[in-house]
């Protein structure tokens, strides 16, 4: 595959980004990758070109892991200190510290990764936009540990029913939609 930038040399670096669920992949040659890296527009990660031969490099790097680091370190955190925030608020956010590991928000922005599980609770509001940008969503759906399971199953059931209700309304099956509405009502009453 040819480099997307110069369209001359073989592409050996891959750069994948996800902004608001819009995903883009760029393929670049090593020269263009170097150039963009110098400009700070792009951070190379162990891709297809490494100092090792092609065979050694085959399983030598896990670009996925690098990509994860890349994604989180990219200016995803820019919005945290957006100018719309008053200085006072920004100061307060800056002073916030995780009670368990001592991480601050600027540590988080610099490292791109949490200091401990409690960080997510400590910085819940501040991290929400970042998390939304990475995944395109901000709320979990899926399995849960034992101690959350019962509650989680109810939550998942509600989610399924809501989707079914939407579909029933779309196909104008109002009888079914009403049944679902009642079931949802009783589920939510128990929750």
């Amino acid at each position: 595959m040819l480099c997307e930038r110069c369209k001359k040399k073989e592409a050996t670096f891959y750069y994948h980004e996800n902004v608001n669920g819009n995903e883009k992949t760029y393929s670049l040659c090593s020269d263009c990758a170097d150039e963009l890296e110098k400009k700070g527009e792009f951070k190379k990660f162990g891709g297809f070109a490494s100092e090792l031969g092609p065979f050694e490099s085959l399983f030598a790097g896990d670009p996925f892991e690098h990509m994860e680091a890349l994604l989180s370190k990219q200016d995803l955190f820019g919005s945290l200190f957006a100018p719309t925030k008053t200085r006072q608020l920004a100061e307060r956010i800056r002073a916030k510290k995780c009670p368990l590991c001592g991480m601050t928000l600027s540590d988080f922005a610099r490292e791109g990764k949490a200091g401990c599980p409690t960080c997510y609770e400590t910085f819940a509001d501040e991290l929400e936009p970042t998390i939304g940008r990475i995944h395109g969503r901000t709320a979990h759906s899926g399995r849960a540990p034992l101690k959350f399971r019962e509650k989680n199953e109810m939550k998942n059931r509600i989610r399924v029913l809501e989707a079914e209700q939407k579909e029933a309304i779309r196909v104008e099956n109002y009888e079914r939609a009403a049944e679902i509405r009642d079931e949802l009502r009783s589920l939510r009453g128990n929750a």
Partner: protein, 339 residues
């Protein structure tokens, strides 16, 4: 070990991996974790498996560097884990199909590897292993964000599922690029193993999910099942369209390749991967009577660090090439005599 087993869709799918990222409440992540706390985590995790039949504990930190790298080459552990400084451990089941990395980036990375295209099997294996831990350990989880992970990119299910495919026809037809774009839109990624589109790439690609938050484990698996099923069908269709003349050429190349593998006394790693790709395709097209899993085993056992680990006294590249040729000969010889 997966590469000694026949798997579903083995003519195209090499292996399937699923991993879950899990962490413990009350402990900082890597970088903020003291050695003492790190050892405490390892002890707590192992105490869940200790005494349960079939589980083995490996003090990964105490292994020699090449052996650690060999685990990474064979995809049993991540490259980062192979290089990690400080306490870390590897817990594996009897069948060597489930591996738990303790103190990788996350406190726990539970991983299952199966042969061929078998997402359901791999998910079941990781889930069973996880169930042993759940309840015994205080797993970090929030109702909003799901399983809490070191890196925000793994939040939610903490699940990464990937399938390694051999796509020589797709590659040859120049289809990888558009595949890459299509998969990107679906929240999936394709990762080539070496210089894309070149002979040395081996035609091997890994396809995996990228998003883990707001999508259930089942939804992730069925999306991958669907998309990878389509890619496999397309690859098979393309293989079916190879002209008679091309097939003749391929057959000749495959047999010459077999000649080299059976009789050469030194085989370089780059050479082997291109031989592997040709011969694997030939085997899948029944141009020769050789099971594809034999070739996958050959590839895994011929990785540079794996050669060094399995052969005493091998240090220089020339030693390695000689040892590699011997391994290839042995594995192919065994397969031929089994026919």
């Amino acid at each position: 070990m997966w590469y000694r087993t026949k798997g579903r869709e083995n003519d195209i799918a090499v292996s399937t991996r699923v991993r879950l990222a899990r962490n413990l409440n009350g402990y900082p992540f890597d970088g903020r974790l003291t050695e003492e706390k790190a050892k405490e985590i390892i002890g707590n995790v192992w105490s869940v498996f200790d005494g349960k039949e079939g589980w083995t504990f490996t003090d990964f930190a105490s292994l020699p560097t090449v052996e650690r790298a060999s685990y990474a080459e064979r995809h049993i552990v991540s490259p980062d884990f192979a290089k990690k400084a400080g306490p870390c451990a590897l817990i594996s089941n009897e069948e060597k199909s489930v591996y738990i990395m303790v103190l990788e980036e996350d406190h726990l990375r539970i991983q299952a590897i199966t042969a061929g295209f078998d997402l359901a099997g791999a998910v079941q294996a990781v889930t069973e292993a996880e169930q042993l831990l759940d309840g015994a350990l205080d797993i970090a989880y929030s109702e909003k964000l799901g399983y809490l992970t070191h890196c925000p990119t793994n939040l939610g299910t903490g699940m990464r599922a990937s399938v390694m495919l051999h796509l020589p026809a797709y590659t040859g037809a120049g289809g990888i690029r558009s595949l890459q774009n299509q998969l990107g839109k679906l929240g999936l990624t394709i990762r080539g193993m070496a210089g894309e589109g070149t002979a040395a790439s081996g035609g091997l690609y890994q396809i995996s999910n990228q998003i883990t938050l707001g999508i259930t484990e089942d939804e992730t698996v069925s999306k991958l099942e669907d998309v990878i099923g389509q890619i496999i069908a397309k690859e098979r269709e393309l293989r079916g369209c190879i002209s008679r003349e091309s097939l003749d050429n391929l057959s000749d190349r495959v047999m010459r390749g077999m000649g080299v593998m059976m009789y050469a006394t030194r085989i370089g790693s780059a050479e082997l991967i291109s031989l592997y790709s040709d011969v694997r395709l030939g085997a899948a097209l029944n141009l020769l009577g050789l099971p594809t899993e034999t070739l996958d085993e050959m590839l895994m056992r011929c990785m540079p660090n794996t050669i060094c680990t399995e052969h005493e006294g091998v240090t220089t590249p020339a030693d390695r090439d000689r040892a590699r040729a011997a391994v290839v000969k042995e594995i192919l010889g065994r397969a031929n005599s089994a026919d």
